[in-house]
């Protein structure tokens, strides 16, 4: 079970591993030396899928940067050059553009999996907080990436989002000018966004390594949410979860491919194929779909500063989730009331997304405000109170017992999970 026991069979590899134990590291973190609960379901695939997305984005991004020009005059042209003349440029760009959406789909499911099975609770609080940091970095990276093609939505999205900072009292306008490097979104803005868009993914890689490190101390949570009691509850990561993850990757790539090959522009906005024009604002500015819930929260408050604070609070709140949830039981399987509220939160986030896509008029304003209020109520009111008052179901004695029942040689478990 320990990393130290690993010895490569091949003499040369053993020689190398004695001097730089990188093989032992892989063996112990992603290989046969890493013990994982035996009952992880397919929602545990989304961690490795998120890692794959990051790798795909970095790989395609690096080659796109070989052809892209971060200038006001050249950006749109260089993107069309990639689409038309660079060998497989269209493929690389469509993978990169749709890959951002895929990354967010995967990460959102990964986050909601954590919420459902209580993966953020002790002893995994720091693991969870690192995840929130990754989400924030992803949002910044995706936002700056969307600016680079220098279409109408790029330009006006950049203008609107950077203007959020003007809500800051006293120094707001100076901060916005500082972010722009001028008096509007222009050449300096584009160039710094390109530079940072290239940099941040590598920062994400760094935080991902910390995220995995923090995961490996307590090990993975599992659908039952109970601690691993002994070796009977575990299997080696390799080959069991490498095989399972590979299957997940295969299915995911088919889903990804449907977008890349058959509807590559369906997640984008047609206006972004119009070159940026600082003199004309599009009729209706919408962010990319993954920002819509946050956009809805921003617009829920009529006050400029209030909206901005609320939007940042919606993500910032997640840092405190491990302490806001007062229940000691992790998995929603044993918390019937929490399970209901979890699904309400999912519905609430979808509603926020829909509201974010519509202009703030008529009933949408009220719906947006109610959905925003519920979002905060879920974390600030429902979770703290629920942990104290809810009636929970009895926990099984061990994973092996719950999963295997008779086969584990113990008395039958109350409720098999799968």
């Amino acid at each position: 079970m320990s990393t130290g026991s690993f010895k490569p069979k091949n003499g040369a590899l053993r020689w190398f591993d004695d001097r730089l134990p990188i093989l032992s590291l892989v063996h112990g973190s992603l290989g046969a030396g890493y013990p994982a609960p035996r009952n992880l379901n397919y929602f545990w695939n989304f961690g490795s899928l998120a890692g794959l997305c990051l790798v795909i984005q970095i790989a395609t991004g690096i080659v796109l940067a070989m052809h892209y020009t971060p200038t006001v005059a050249g950006a749109f042209n260089s993107v069309e050059h990639i689409m038309r003349d660079v060998n497989y440029g269209w493929l690389l760009r469509y993978i990169h553009a749709n890959g951002a959406s895929m990354f967010f789909i995967v990460v959102f499911i990964h986050i909601f999996r954590g919420l459902y099975y209580g993966s953020y609770k002790a002893p995994r609080e720091v693991l969870w907080m690192l995840g929130v940091v990754i989400l924030l970095l992803m949002m910044a990276t995706a936002f700056m990436g969307y600016v680079l093609p220098w279409g109408q939505m790029s330009f006006w999205g950049a203008t609107v989002i950077t203007n959020l900072f003007s809500a800051i009292p006293l120094v707001g306008d100076q901060i916005v000018t500082f972010l722009w490097g001028g008096f509007s979104v222009d050449e300096p803005t584009l160039q710094r966004f390109f530079s940072l868009h290239y940099l941040l993914p590598f920062v994400i890689v760094g935080v991902v390594i910390l995220h995995i490190w923090a995961l490996h101390l307590p090990g993975s949570n599992n659908p039952l949410g109970i601690d691993v009691k002994g070796p009977q509850d575990q299997v080696p990561f390799h080959p069991y979860y490498t095989a399972k993850d590979a299957l997940g990757v295969g299915v995911f790539l088919i889903f990804f491919g449907l977008f890349v090959f058959y509807m590559p522009n369906s997640l984008g906005h047609p206006d972004n194929y119009i070159p940026a024009d600082p003199m004309v604002t599009p009729a209706h500015i919408v962010p990319e779909w993954y920002f819509l819930p946050f956009y809805a929260i921003l617009r829920a408050v009529p006050d400029k500063l209030g909206g901005v604070l609320l939007m940042f609070a919606a993500v910032g709140l997640l840092f405190f989730l491990p302490w806001l949830d007062t229940s000691k039981i992790r998995s929603a399987i044993f918390r019937p009331a929490y399970k209901m509220f979890f699904w309400l939160l999912v519905v609430d986030c979808v509603v926020l997304g829909v509201v974010g896509a519509y202009p703030p008029e008529g009933a949408w304003i009220l719906i947006g405000q109610l959905a925003t209020a519920y979002y905060f109520a879920h974390f600030l009111l429902i979770l703290p109170i629920l942990g104290k008052v809810e009636k929970t179901k009895p926990l099984p004695q061990s994973i092996a017992q719950a999963v295997l029942g008779d086969k584990a040689g113990a008395k039958p478990a109350a409720q098999p999970a799968e």
Binding site: N41, S101, P231, F261, P270
Partner: protein, 272 residues
């Protein structure tokens, strides 16, 4: 099992929500007018561009649209993509005068077009285009099909959507009524009339025919790599389907002993 089902429902819901993000914006720009739904050969997972229609569409673009609209990403070498031979593409290129230079004396000069040249624009810059068109800028048509909600259907509808204005619509000078334009007021006068071009292949040049042809041409121009994309996509899907079946079988076989209750870690600790 129930948990899984509800989770999958959640996944479907979140995808639906991804698509919802698009619907309203299409509504906003198109003002809820239902577009004419034309069956184009390039639609669908195996769709290809109708070469003959695209060539006729190129003729319409050359003889009508290009007097006001540029197509800055269109190079003559691209003509081979809609079925012209290299010789024909060269001949077409040579019909255009391209500004080149500077020569040895520092002057710009005109020469016949080559395959590597791009279609010359009708106006030297946006301001000149605006000045010549009553203040309205005729947009570049290179990616116009991708730049409008509704794409090819929108373009066809717009080109065939000129009507007598209803009584309650006031049109300023230089404005025309179009059923499919956002706000119904368009600065472009009706561009197509029957028999404006003489098709070499004998096709009758009705407004609908020309609108459809030029839409095919512009759809191709917006994305010349579409056919390659779909054909690679098809191979990709076949490959991945087989691969996923193999991955599924491999995974099932690897997990079989565990599902039966094997405990690979039990007893291993003592050895370590």
């Amino acid at each position: 099992m129930r948990i899984k089902k509800t989770f999958i429902l959640g996944l479907v819901a979140s995808l639906g929500f991804a698509n919802l993000g698009l619907a309203p914006s299409a509504l906003a720009a198109g003002e809820a007018v239902k577009l004419k739904d034309i069956e184009f050969s390039f639609e669908g997972p195996f769709g290809t561009f109708d070469r003959a229609a695209a060539q006729r569409g190129f003729q319409v673009y050359r003889e009508i649209c290009s007097s006001c609209h540029s197509a800055q990403y269109f190079a003559f070498r691209n003509l081979e993509g809609i079925g012209y031979s290299e010789e024909m593409a060269k001949a077409i290129a040579a019909e255009y005068q391209i500004t080149d230079g500077p020569d040895d004396f520092g002057d710009m000069f005109e020469r016949p077009g080559k395959l590597s040249d791009r279609m010359p624009a009708p106006f030297p810059n946006q301001n000149a285009a605006r000045a010549a068109n009553g203040g309205a800028y005729p947009p570049d048509l290179s990616v116009i099909v991708k730049a409008r909600p509704g794409g090819a259907d929108y373009l066809y509808s717009l080109l065939t959507g000129y009507e007598e204005p209803p009584a309650d619509i006031e049109l300023a000078p230089g404005q025309y009524y179009n059923a499919y334009m956002a706000g119904h007021k368009i600065a472009m006068p009706q561009p197509l009339y029957d028999d404006m071009v003489g098709y070499a292949d004998g096709t009758e040049a009705t407004v609908e025919q020309m609108a459809k042809d030029v839409t095919v041409f512009l759809a191709w121009l917006a994305e010349p790599s579409m056919e390659q994309r779909k054909s690679i996509g098809f191979s990709f899907m076949i490959f991945m389907s087989i691969f996923v079946v193999l991955l599924y079988l491999t995974n099932r076989r690897i997990w079989r002993p565990i599902k039966k209750g094997a405990m690979p870690w039990v007893g291993k600790d003592e050895k370590a």
